[in-house]
Amino acid sequence: MWQIIKSVLAAFFGVQKEARRREDFEKGRAAPFIIVGVLMAIVLVILVVLVATLAAG
C-alpha cells in the first residue's frame, strides 16, 4: 500500500525511477493505482483549499 502511495506521489511530482516502475508493473493490477490516484487528487484539492483559505485569511 505504502508503495502505491509513493508511486502515485512520484507521478504527481512527475518523476519516477525505472526500477520502481518495473516493480509497479509487475503487480499486474492498475485499479489500486487509479483509486489511490483519485484519492490523492482529492487530498491535494483539500490541501490547496486549506492553503488558499489561510492565505485569503
Partner: protein, 373 residues
C-alpha cells in the same frame, strides 16, 4: 575570443529585451494606480524568469543539436535515466513558482479589498455602450462610441483616438477610492482600462465588485474585453480622472441638470419637442440594432419603420420599450432611461420614417401609468 563574442551577443539580447520591455506600446503599461504598478512588476518578474529559463533550456538544446550532429560523426551514448537530475530540475521551477505565488497572493488580496470606498459607481454593460450611475447621487448617463461611422468605413481620416473616444467619459476623482459595481443588461461584457489594471466581467443578473484609486489626473482609455456581439469592438471605456475639487463641482452640476430633467416629466410636451429629444435618444440607444432608418436587421432585430403591428397597439409598443421582451435581445429600459427619454423615443418611433401616427406620448403618462410601481 569566442567567450567575448558570446558575452557581447548576450549583452545585445539583454539590451534589446529590456528596451522592448520598457518601450511604449510594446509592453503592459505601468499604469497609474498602486495595483497596476504591482501587477506590472509581477508581470516583469515572471517575464524575466521565463527569459532566464529559456536561455538555459534553449542554450542546452542548441548546444546538443550542434555538438552531437551525426554528420560530424557523433556516437549515441546509452544513458536514459537519472532520477536526481530529474528531481532537481522539477524542484527548482516549483520553488520559483512558490516564490511567485507569495507576492501574487498579496496583490490579489489588495485587489479584492473593496471596503472603505469614498464613492460607489454602478457600471452597466449594454449592447453596445456603458452606463454609469453615481450611486446615491442621482447622476447617471450612458457613454457611447464617439468615432464616426465614416472613419470606421474609411471615408474619413481616422482621428488620434480612433475607437477609443466616447461622447461622455466616466469622470472620477483622483486620489479617492472608488468602488465599481459591475453588471450587465444583456450579455456578458468586460470593463477594462489597462492603465488602471481593472478588468472585470459585467454579468447579467449579478453584480461584481472592483475598485480603483487613481494616482494621477488624466484620461485613460480602454475597451470592452469580452465578446458581446456585433459591436464588441465599438464600446470603448474612457475614464477622466480629475482633481477631487473639480470632481465635486462637476458632480454638483450634473445633479442640478438631473433635477431640471425630473421637472420636465410633469409638463406637457409638444410633438416637435418630443421628436427632437427622441431622435437623440434613438440615435444613441436604439439605432445600433434597429438601424438609423428603422429598418432593423431581421430576424434578430425587427424593423420599426412600417411595422403595422407596433403602430396599431400603442400600449404594446410602450410595454416593449419599458419592460423589454424576455427571451429576445430587446432589453427593458425602465431603469436605464428616464420617463422623458422613454416617452420621447416612443413618440419618435411612432412618427419617424413615414410612420406618421401623430401620437405624442407624454412623459407623465409613462411615469404615472408604466413606472408607478
Amino acid at each position: 575570443m569566442r567567450k567575448r563574442l558570446l558575452w557581447t551577443a548576450g549583452g545585445f539580447a539583454f539590451a534589446g529585451l529590456s528596451g522592448l520591455a520598457s518601450a511604449d506600446g510594446w509592453n503592459m503599461p505601468v499604469g497609474v494606480t498602486d495595483v497596476s504598478r504591482e501587477i506590472h512588476s509581477l508581470h516583469m518578474i515572471i517575464f524575466w524568469i521565463c527569459v532566464v529559463i529559456g536561455v538555459v533550456v534553449f542554450g542546452a538544446m542548441f548546444y546538443s543539436l550542434f555538438r552531437y550532429r551525426r554528420s560530424q560523426g557523433a556516437e549515441a551514448s546509452n544513458f536514459h535515466e537519472h532520477t536526481t537530475v530529474e528531481v532537481i530540475w522539477t524542484v527548482i521551477p516549483l520553488l520559483i513558482l512558490v516564490g511567485m505565488a507569495v507576492p501574487a497572493t498579496a496583490t490579489l488580496k489588495s485587489m479584492y479589498d473593496t471596503t472603505e470606498a469614498d464613492l460607489d459607481v454602478m457600471v452597466t454593460g449594454q449592447q453596445w455602450r456603458w452606463r454609469y450611475e453615481y450611486l446615491g447621487e442621482d447622476v447617471a448617463f450612458t457613454s457611447n462610441l464617439a468615432t464616426s461611422r465614416e472613419q470606421i468605413a474609411g471615408e474619413a481620416a481616422k482621428g488620434e483616438d480612433y475607437l477609443l473616444e466616447v461622447d461622455e467619459p466616466l469622470v472620477l476623482p483622483a486620489g479617492r477610492k472608488v468602488r465599481l459595481l459591475l453588471t450587465s443588461d444583456d450579455v456578458i461584457h468586460s470593463w477594462w482600462v489597462p492603465d488602471l489594471a481593472v478588468k472585470q466581467d459585467a454579468v447579467p443578473g449579478f453584480v461584481n465588485e472592483n475598485w480603483v484609486r487613481i494616482n494621477e489626473p488624466g484620461i485613460y482609455r480602454g475597451q470592452c474585453a469580452e465578446l458581446c456581439g456585433r459591436d464588441h469592438a465599438f464600446m470603448p471605456v474612457v475614464v477622466q480622472a480629475v482633481e477631487p475639487e473639480r470632481f465635486d463641482a462637476w458632480l454638483a452640476q450634473r445633479k442640478e441638470a438631473a433635477a431640471q430633467e425630473a421637472l420636465g416629466v410633469d409638463r406637457d410636451w409638444s410633438l416637435e419637442a418630443l421628436m427632437e429629444r427622441g431622435e437623440r435618444v434613438y440615435g444613441t440607444i436604439c439605432a445600433s440594432c434597429h438601424q438609423p432608418d428603422g429598418s432593423g436587421s431581421p430576424p434578430a432585430f425587427p424593423a420599426l419603420a412600417g411595422n403595422q403591428a407596433l403602430l396599431d397597439e400603442r400600449d404594446r409598443h410602450i410595454d416593449t420599450v419599458v419592460n423589454g421582451v424576455s427571451g429576445t435581445a430587446m432589453p427593458a429600459f425602465r431603469s436605464t432611461l428616464n420617463p422623458v427619454e422613454i416617452a420621447a423615443v416612443i413618440t419618435y418611433e411612432r412618427n419617424a420614417w413615414g410612420n406618421d401616427t401623430g401620437d405624442a406620448v407624454q412623459p407623465s403618462t409613462i411615469a404615472d401609468e408604466w413606472l408607478a410601481d
